[in-house]
């Protein structure tokens, strides 16, 4: 083995990325779903409202798309019965979880890059601080990915799997949803006084969820 071999969680994430890019089963659906929802919003919501509710709508799209896509990282392993292979391998469950989080972050980032300019263009949104807006969107989405990936390991043994995830997830991720919308609206208007508070909330939430998930992952993987 090479002296500079990648950590095991990177191996898990890299494997998932290769599998996804060959099967095109999740990312294409996520991007397509985001674009269709953007189009639907553009015909149902008057453009004049774009500035006041545009950020919320965009965030809503990413929440829906996340519900659709992030659990797949685990559910696919269960459906193909490859999760047993991981469970039997000498890898700590926390590393498997970390690998899945990184893989989901990659999916999220690609979806964001495709959907963000299209959504802004369709709604003709004028964002006073676009870089800050994109940074907050990415931070909020990252927290959402962390929470969804962590919760996904709890639903893999259930029968309804992906259907159960939103029901469990919404109450948990509510603080991230409200904080991100609050911060996004500030970056749209350019009035960023007090923006640190929601950002601190998002970061603290991510760290706490991640810590709890890593510490308890072992119990989620054994029957």
């Amino acid at each position: 083995m090479s002296a500079f071999s990648k950590p095991k969680f990177i191996e898990v994430a890299w494997k998932d990325i290769i599998v996804e890019f060959r099967s095109k089963s999740t990312l294409s659906l996520m991007v397509l779903f985001s674009l269709i929802t953007s189009m639907l919003f553009s015909v149902t919501v008057p453009v004049s409202y774009a500035e006041s509710i545009g950020a919320s709508l965009l965030w809503l799209i990413f929440i829906f798309v996340g519900m659709l896509g992030y659990a797949r990282a685990f559910v696919r392993e269960v459906e193909l019965e490859t999760l047993d292979g991981l469970k039997l391998s000498p890898i700590h469950p926390a590393s498997i979880l970390a690998g899945k989080m990184i893989y989901n972050l990659v999916l999220m980032f690609i979806t964001e890059i495709v959907v963000f300019p299209i959504f802004v263009g369709v709604f003709n949104m004028s964002i006073k601080k676009p870089l800050l807006f994109f940074a907050i969107l990415t931070l909020g989405n990252s927290a959402f990915v962390v929470a969804m990936s962590s919760l996904a390991i709890l639903i893999i043994k259930s029968r309804s799997k992906e259907l159960l995830l939103p029901i469990i997830a919404f109450p948990v991720v509510f603080p991230v949803i409200s904080s991100t919308v609050f911060a996004l609206n500030m970056s749209v208007t350019g009035n960023t006084n007090g923006i640190l508070e929601p950002l601190k909330m998002i970061v603290s939430f991510s760290l706490i969820v991640m810590a709890v998930a890593f510490l308890t992952s072992e119990y989620a993987f054994i029957d």
Partner: protein, 225 residues
């Protein structure tokens, strides 16, 4: 030297008792078959021994370690082959073994040797989804042997294979010089591969015998039960 020790192991699924006070041991280098009809508790037993499941009570030790502790060191000593090959369809045969070699922290150079052993070297760059069931099972054996485990657990490895596939797979397995625990409901497979048999029925051990007596004892036990 005892490598697998079970003492009074019991497992419940809700109120259903899947394993009822199992006690036995397996010595180093022994090849032992766990025989029994469907629902006897064979898969539950191997899941407990391999650390995928916890027993409700009793003592389980593999190489002196409780497998439910999910010890990384123990997992490096166990190879597991089941009816499910645990392979990624969208990866090639080589990529699958490379991925697992990283997890097991073993040298990649072993991969080609194993692929030649299971006669898949020529197809090493083909996606696993293009493989037949028999080819996938052969690749699963290569995966289980990647880290040169001391114990090989085989949970109905020939399930779903045609006659040729079964013969081929058993030939590979019979050449291995390892401690083997095989679960099967097929007496012929047990006779070909193992030296000793433990017969399970309804989660209980109903007989332990040498492989030479297994057919007679198995038939008499199944008739009497």
């Amino acid at each position: 030297m005892k490598v697998i020790v079970l003492e009074n192991v019991t497992k419940y699924y809700s109120r259903f008792k899947a394993l009822d006070g199992l006690t036995f041991h397996i010595n180093k280098g022994e090849k032992v078959a766990i025989l029994g009809p469907n629902g006897a508790g064979k898969t539950t037993l191997v899941k407990i021994i391999s650390g995928q499941m916890r027993a409700n009570s009793g003592k389980v030790e593999v190489m002196g370690i409780n497998p439910a502790k999910m010890s990384i060191e123990l997992r490096k000593k166990i190879g597991f082959v089941s009816h499910n090959p645990m392979l990624y369809n969208e990866l090639t045969a080589y990529e699958n073994l490379k991925f697992y070699s990283k997890l097991y922290e073993v040298d990649e150079s072993n991969i080609n040797k194993l692929l030649k052993m299971v006669k898949l070297y020529e197809r090493r760059h083909s996606l696993v989804k293009t493989f037949s069931r028999g080819m996938k099972q052969r690749l699963a054996i290569a995966r289980a042997l990647l880290h040169d485990p001391e114990i090989l657990i085989l949970d109905e490895p020939t399930s779903g294979l045609d006659v040729n596939g079964r013969i081929e797979l058993l030939n590979y397995l019979s050449k291995l010089d390892k401690t083997i625990l095989l679960t099967t409901h097929n007496i012929n497979e047990a006779e070909k591969l193992c030296d000793r048999a433990i017969i399970l029925y309804g989660g209980k051990i109903v007989a332990e015998c040498s492989i030479h007596e297994v057919e007679k004892i198995y038939m008499s036990k199944m008739v009497s039960l």
